[in-house]
């Protein structure tokens, strides 16, 4: 199993450009998440999905969009890049464990994005 894979690893965007961050998991997990992590900070939830066709906003969704057409893939779209979106982006997946709330999350390696 590859687990959670993300592409690209690094990207530099100019202000106003658009891009899609790719995320794929091969663990057949229902739940998928997108986080951003700024230097010295914890992870902030951008969007999440509880299954194909179902997505919902997290704590910091402005400037981003997502879709979930398959169980495996959960791409994150930046429409008009802004310097405030410079960050490291992590995708994660999970399934419910043995009891309610037992959602151990598996993270990808991250995408480091710079907007200049």
């Amino acid at each position: 199993n590859a687990g959670v894979t993300q592409t690209p690893k690094f990207r530099i965007l100019k202000i106003g450009q658009s891009m899609t961050l790719q995320c794929t998991q091969d663990m057949n997990h229902n739940y998928m998440y997108w986080y951003r992590q700024d230097p010295g900070m914890g992870l902030k939830l951008i969007y999440y999905s509880v299954g194909a066709g179902i997505t919902d906003k997290g704590e910091v969704p402005n400037g981003y969009n997502v879709s979930r057409s398959t169980t495996e893939d959960f791409p994150l779209r930046l429409e008009l890049a802004a310097p405030s979106q410079t960050s490291v982006y992590f995708c994660a997946s999970s399934n419910r464990g043995h009891s309610r709330g037992d959602y151990e999350q598996y993270f990808g390696p991250g995408t480091r994005l710079t907007v200049t």
Partner: protein, 111 residues
Amino acid sequence: SQKIEQNSEALNIQEGKTATLTCNYTNYSPAYLQWYRQDPGRGPVFLLLIRENEKEKRKERLKVTFDTTLKQSLFHITASQPADSATYLCASSRTTGKLIFGQGTTLQVKP
């Protein structure tokens, strides 16, 4: 708003000692607390989960406690090693699978 706070100052300890990291939560009653390890340039890796009705959980050299009165979780690494040096993240959840993360505490274990 719901908040998870960890000590932002780095923790420096000598090899062989016990490292203790703190996680406090406010305006919130999490049902679960999770601890993750993050190495530089890598994604977080799950370590332990503790439920609100559990006082303590152990896994090898790791121990987590959950005190709902103090609104606090403590994470202990006994017999620490330089390889334990990393940033440790605390995260809380109720039953939806959405996690709220603290900012992390960096642990440095010196030989």
